[in-house]
């Protein structure tokens, strides 16, 4: 699945290898579950769904990365560097206009890179209202952000309190900046195969040891995910009705995580023996030497010019 995404993707009509039911997803929320909706539901079903969602995102990403588009042709190193640069520009800009222009640019790039625009917009704008929108709503009030009151909502000891101009500006700016940042990251990750992204990280100075660990972790993530899904499906199959969230449920969680750790431990022993048998002595060499193409230079140049225009424009629009 991971190795051959290109062979299954055909240009023009995509995504061919992702089943339709897998594409009916909701947005990426903070996985630690501290913010967002707290849905009631079986821990078994939720974990199985989580695993399916993970696979779906990866398969979808591989499909899009194999499509023919502008960004897919660019060297991952160039893309990564320009992503970081543009994220900093978005972070430093103060004006809503600058942020709006940047968002429009990401939409254009997404269209040029054969990304499904509806998905691209949904991914950002479903995430932003749920997470950021709710979080910043109280910030528009004078209680949080004091300033010039636009809409008076109540009076507190004779002083009007309500939505302030500064609060609105701050909330709008935060929402816009988060939207631009997410769009930029999605643009990079959806148009770059993971393996090439790793190579780009390596050439940007991330130590080889980390690249090796990340690459191997990604390789075995799916194997371990399969055993998790197996355990949970087996448990669900022998659980009639709705599973209760009691002591036994938590004991099952402990057993499944503990088993997973044991399996991973054993697997790492075996993999290490196999690596040593093939001559591994703690160092790895990569065969692929990526080269710069003229297209990369054009892209890099235009990103630099765009970033400079954004910064200057932001200054001119006033701080």
């Amino acid at each position: 699945m991971i190795g051959s995404p290109a062979s299954v993707a055909s240009p023009g009509s995509h995504p061919p290898s992702v089943p339709q039911w897998l594409l009916q997803q909701d947005v990426a929320l903070c996985p630690c579950g501290c913010i967002g909706k707290r849905k009631k539901g079986s821990y078994l079903a939720k974990t199985i769904q989580g695993g399916a969602k993970l696979l779906q995102q990866v398969m979808f990403g591989e499909d899009v990365a194999a499509a023919r588009g502008v960004l897919q042709r660019i060297d991952p190193r160039v893309k990564l560097m320009s992503l970081i640069g543009l994220l900093v520009v978005a972070g430093l800009s103060h004006s809503m206009i600058t942020l709006a222009v940047m968002y429009a640019a990401t939409l254009g790039l997404a269209a040029a890179s054969a990304l499904p625009i509806a998905f691209f917009i949904k991914r950002v704008w479903l995430f932003v209202p749920i997470f950021t929108g709710i979080v910043v709503l109280p910030a528009t009030l004078s209680v949080v952000t004091p300033g010039d009151i636009v809409v008076t909502l109540w009076h507190w000891h004779g002083t009007p309190e309500g939505i302030t101009q500064q609060g609105l500006l701050a909330a709008g700016r935060l929402v816009a900046r988060v939207a631009v940042s997410i769009s930029l990251v999605v643009l990079l990750t959806l148009t770059t195969p993971w393996i090439r992204l790793l190579a780009a990280l390596r050439s940007l100075g991330v130590p080889r040891i980390f690249i090796l660990i990340i690459g191997m972790a990604y390789r075995y993530l799916f194997l371990l995910l399969t055993s998790v899904t197996d355990m949970y499906q087996a448990r669900q199959a022998r659980t009639p009705g709705t599973p209760r969230h009691d002591r036994r449920a938590r004991a099952f969680l402990g057993a499944s995580v503990g088993t997973l750790l044991g399996k991973a431990n054993q697997l790492s022993e075996e993999v290490h023996q196999a690596m040593t048998a093939r001559g591994y002595r703690g160092d790895a060499k990569s065969l692929e030497q990526p080269r710069f193409h003229p297209a990369d230079a054009y892209y890099l140049g235009s990103v630099v010019i765009f970033a400079a225009v954004m910064m200057i424009g932001d200054h001119l629009l006033g701080r």
Binding site: C32, K39, G41, Y43, L174, V185
Partner: protein
Amino acid sequence: MHIPDGYLSPQTCAAGFVVAVPVLAAAAARVNKRVKTRHVPTLAMLSAVCFLIMMFNVPIPDGTTAHGVGAALIAILLGPWAAVIAVSVALGFQALLFGDGGVLAYGVNVVNMAIVLPFVAYGLYRLISGSAHLTSPRRVVAGFLAGYAGLTVAALCVGIELGIQPSLFHDANGAPLYSPYNLSQSITAMLFAHLTVAGVAEGIIAAVVVAYLQRANLPLLQVNHPGIPVDADAAAAEGARRRRLRPGVVAGAAMAVMVVLTPLGLLAQGTAFGEDSPDALKDKLGLSTIPAGLNKYAEFWRKTLFPDYGFASGEHPVLSYLVSAVVGILIVGLVVFLIAKLVTVATHRGSSTADARKSEQVRS
């Protein structure tokens, strides 16, 4: 707890990387030294497991579910440095592959979840579990509290990082540029969510997995607990072994203490109390008569091995002084050894009769 891009100023993000990068380098060096070439596959599997642990839905008592980070668990099982790398890699997956947590904010996220969390959790775990044996319920409780406290402290860090934004970064009109809530608001919000739900989830993960490994996979638990006795009996035996008097050690220690204290004798002035010869007493104290008993017994025993710390012949004064010192030390050591030996024999006999009595009771 994953901070997305846009909530923090680029300056704060840079500060996050300034803290995170050296710690990551130190963690890589430490782990590398400990497990040599095996570290790549081991850490890779751990990182994959850590990523999956974040996916597990933890059933919590209110009927809903929550996610933990799993950093406390990995710190308990394989040490905080391994947890730093595993959680960082898992966070990298989430940021680059799934868009959870920002790319610029990656450094800050690493500081909160991959550095603060495992170290706080591990410190607390060591503190609470103490020298309890490996299958003790105390270790399960310690695991829960470690996860709970670790995640809460990490949430406090997030609250502080978000809370300093409005006062540090705002425009001319006073409108905040990044996260708009001040310290009191953001810390309250973060701590409320994590004290009630997410901290519990992190604690549950650590506790139930430690409990499971105690039942089913002790070798995995022993990796980071070297030399800790497995069950209560082994702990008692270990304690008894430690408490048992070893005559050789006691004698050696007594000799060592005396050797160390020797210079005190050189610093002291005058001669030792009560060791004066009858003639010296006469000179020093001006005694006109020497007590008859003293006179009689002062010269009673003259057949010493080293008269006046020298050979009987009086030759080689320096060498003989040293020899007499060594012989003296050895004799003192031998005496202490014999006394300790006697004590151990006596106590051993006592405890073995007690054991015999106990087994007698069991049989009857």
